[in-house]
């Protein structure tokens, strides 16, 4: 669908990740949490793709699966023309090649408290990747680490300290520095600013924007916060229950959401001042679990516009305005 000359850096085809569970104690492994249930999209170089959606809809899982940090259940992931994951193992690149590629693809983790090794100094956390992927001397590594930390707004003196001594915002910046230290081309950012206060959030987002410009980076940016996403990202993918329900340019989607779920989501974004008037779409109905996915459209149990077909048939992707896709029977 994308005919642009812009280079596509990542392509995801029908990605799936199921976690096996047993419903009852000692039962059989017959049930699965379908965290990511068949997702396809592509990302252009030097753009930011925002991913939004309810908590638990599979955003983090998707991010990790793309980077092969968890083994996907099915699908294909192509990075820069190389197949880094495929169900057919023969197609995939070799392990050593993958290790090399890891120097180009990075992830910033959601939880700033769990993603730094509490027993490593900041220096060793940040320099670990440099050591692995670049042939540099000790001093050069240190210099490089200090440089990137400063770039992320951290004092060079913090290098001898340990993670517990830093606030959440600072930790998040360290995590970002770690990912960026090895000069990646592509970064999955998993809610890098949730749970931070607004001023720190701003600092971090600015940094990421700077880097994108300076280094030509590509991001997948996972977030709850529409206020951020709408201005920060070029494109947005809205996820619901393991699937993408709407995909398109950020501005358009924010201004004019098509999918009922996106509409509800955007209407729920808090006002920016008490005077602002806003009508919220209230969702009713039961929230399905990722184990028992409803037949037909996944959103049918809560959708205000539900009709019979929604309960029977899973909607196909509809191309609207040339640059956006929506998965909903309303737009036949």
């Amino acid at each position: 669908m994308n005919t642009d000359k812009e280079k596509i850096i990542l392509e995801v085809e029908n990605l799936k990740k199921y976690y096996p569970i047993r419903k009852k104690a000692f039962g059989k492994t017959e049930e699965y949490v379908k965290s990511v249930d068949g997702i396809s999209f592509s990302v252009k170089e030097n753009t930011i793709l925002g991913v939004v959606g309810e908590s638990g809809c599979g955003k983090s899982t998707m991010g990790k699966a793309i980077l092969n940090l968890i083994e996907p259940t099915d699908g294909r992931v192509i990075y820069n023309g190389k197949i880094i994951y495929s169900n057919d193992k023969k197609e995939c690149i070799s392990k050593s090649e993958m290790t090399k590629l890891r120097g180009e693809m990075q992830m910033i983790f959601q939880d700033p408290y769990a993603s730094l090794d509490p027993r490593k100094s900041i220096e060793s956390i940040v320099s670990e990747g440099i050591k692995k992927h670049r042939n540099l001397t000790k001093d050069e590594i240190r210099e490089k680490a200090a440089e990137i930390l400063e770039l992320c707004g951290m004092d060079r003196a913090c290098m001898v300290r340990y993670p517990h001594e830093f606030s959440g915002g600072q930790r998040q910046r360290i995590g970002i520095a770690r990912s960026l230290a090895i000069n990646p081309k592509f970064v999955v950012c998993d809610e890098p600013t949730a749970a931070l206060d607004v001023s720190i959030q701003s600092q971090i987002l600015n940094l990421m924007l700077d880097l994108k410009e300076k280094m030509g980076l590509t991001y997948i940016f996972i977030s709850h916060n529409f206020n951020v996403v709408k201005s920060f990202c070029d494109e947005i993918a809205v996820m619901y229950l393991g699937k993408i329900v709407e995909y398109g340019p950020a501005e358009k989607i924010y201004k004019n959401p098509k999918h009922p779920y996106t509409q509800a989501l955007i209407s729920s974004v808090p006002r920016n001042s008490p005077d602002e008037k806003k009508e919220r779409i209230r969702l009713t109905g039961s929230i399905p679990s990722a184990v028992e996915i409803p037949a037909g459209c996944r959103f049918s149990t809560r959708c205000p516009y539900v009709s019979d077909i929604c309960r029977q048939k899973e909607p196909e992707g509809m191309n609207l305005d040339n640059d956006r896709t929506v998965y909903c029977h309303l737009y036949k």
Binding site: I21, R22, K23, K24, A25, F26, G27, K28
Partner: protein, 321 residues
């Protein structure tokens, strides 16, 4: 559930087989000859050799093992060379006595440990905590045989108020309640010794799992509801720490039947521990194997039980590997 149990039982059989092979090999490798005391100096060496050959003493170990396992599978654990009786019935005789004191000390120590452990966790950092900590560490630090002897000296000799060996007063023929009291009186010292180290270890365990529970957010919630700290500890804290305590207790089950070798020996308590001691000292291979396998079976069962119980008491554990 059935499938889970079947699978676990299959694995258990492998474990039991492994245990039997290794233990059998080891005990047969060691020097020592179970038949030596059957042999009188006045017998001539030829006769002796002839006899030992008949007994299978010269067979290679693997042949001996095959013979043993062949019979063991049918439930025949052979004859004790020492007692000239079927291993099975010997173990059965001793098992009751062992269970008597081990269950008593199990109950005493679990109850004590849980109560004391919770109190110390609740009062962590105070002198009560310190005192119990020091005492429980002392409990862990005293070698069993030494503690047993000190108790005998004090209560059996200096004060002479408690019997120091056996299970009953032989010179009296008590019946009914009087008999039960008599046995209880004989149990006091060995049970005290057994309980001491168990309690001490369990206290440490309860305390730490309790402290763990205390630092959880739901404790704060409970207090925000209006429970006092103490109430919160005894309801929510206990409920959560019990999960791990219960499984630890499960893993203690094997000691209920294995008997305490040293304690039983010191107090001449005719249980599995004493039996095991005699069996080791007399190289009574069949008896050693019998006891080993019995204990191994109990350990394996206790492990399965621990897993099952863990899943039962903790609703979160629905996913079993």
């Amino acid at each position: 559930m059935r499938k889970f149990l079947l699978k676990r039982l299959g694995v258990a059989l492998i474990v039991l087989f492994g245990v039997s092979v290794i233990v059998f090999t080891l005990i047969h490798l060691q020097p020592g000859n179970p038949y030596l005391n059957m042999i009188d100096p006045s017998m001539s060496p030829d006769v002796v050799e002839q006899k030992l050959r008949e007994l299978g003493y010269y067979d290679p170990i693997y042949i001996q093992y095959m013979k043993w396992i062949g019979r063991a599978i049918t439930g025949d654990f052979g004859y004790s060379t020492q007692f000239n009786a079927p291993v099975f019935s010997i173990i059965l005789d001793a098992l009751g006595n062992t269970i008597l004191i081990s269950v008593a000390s199990f109950i005493v120590s679990s109850v004590l440990a849980i109560v004391i452990g919770i109190i110390t966790a609740e009062k962590s950092g105070t002198w009560v905590d310190y005192l119990v900590t020091v005492l429980s560490f002392i409990g862990i630090s005293i070698p069993t045989f030494f503690f047993a002897l000190i108790l005998i000296k004090i209560f059996g000799y200096d004060l002479a108020i408690l019997p120091s060996s056996g299970m009953e007063t032989l010179t009296e023929s008590y019946t009914g309640i009087a008999y039960i009291f008599d046995v209880i009186k004989h149990m006091i010292l060995p049970v005290t010794v057994l309980s001491l180290t168990q309690t001490a270890t369990l206290i440490r365990y309860t305390r730490s799992s309790m402290l763990d529970a205390l630092s959880q957010d739901y404790m704060r919630t409970a207090q925000a509801k209006g429970l006092t700290r103490k109430q919160a500890i005894w309801t929510h804290g206990l409920r959560n720490s019990l999960i791990s305590i219960v499984t630890v207790l499960c893993l203690q089950l094997p000691t209920l039947v294995s008997g305490a070798l040293i304690t039983e020996t010191v107090f001449v308590w005719p249980g599995i521990g004493t039996l095991n001691y005699n069996a080791i000292m007399n190289r009574d291979y069949m008896l050693i194997m019998g006891i080993t396998m019995m204990i191994a079976v109990v350990i394996v069962i206790a492990n399965i039980l621990a897993d099952v119980l863990y899943a039962v008491v903790d609703p979160r554990i629905k996913v079993m590997e």
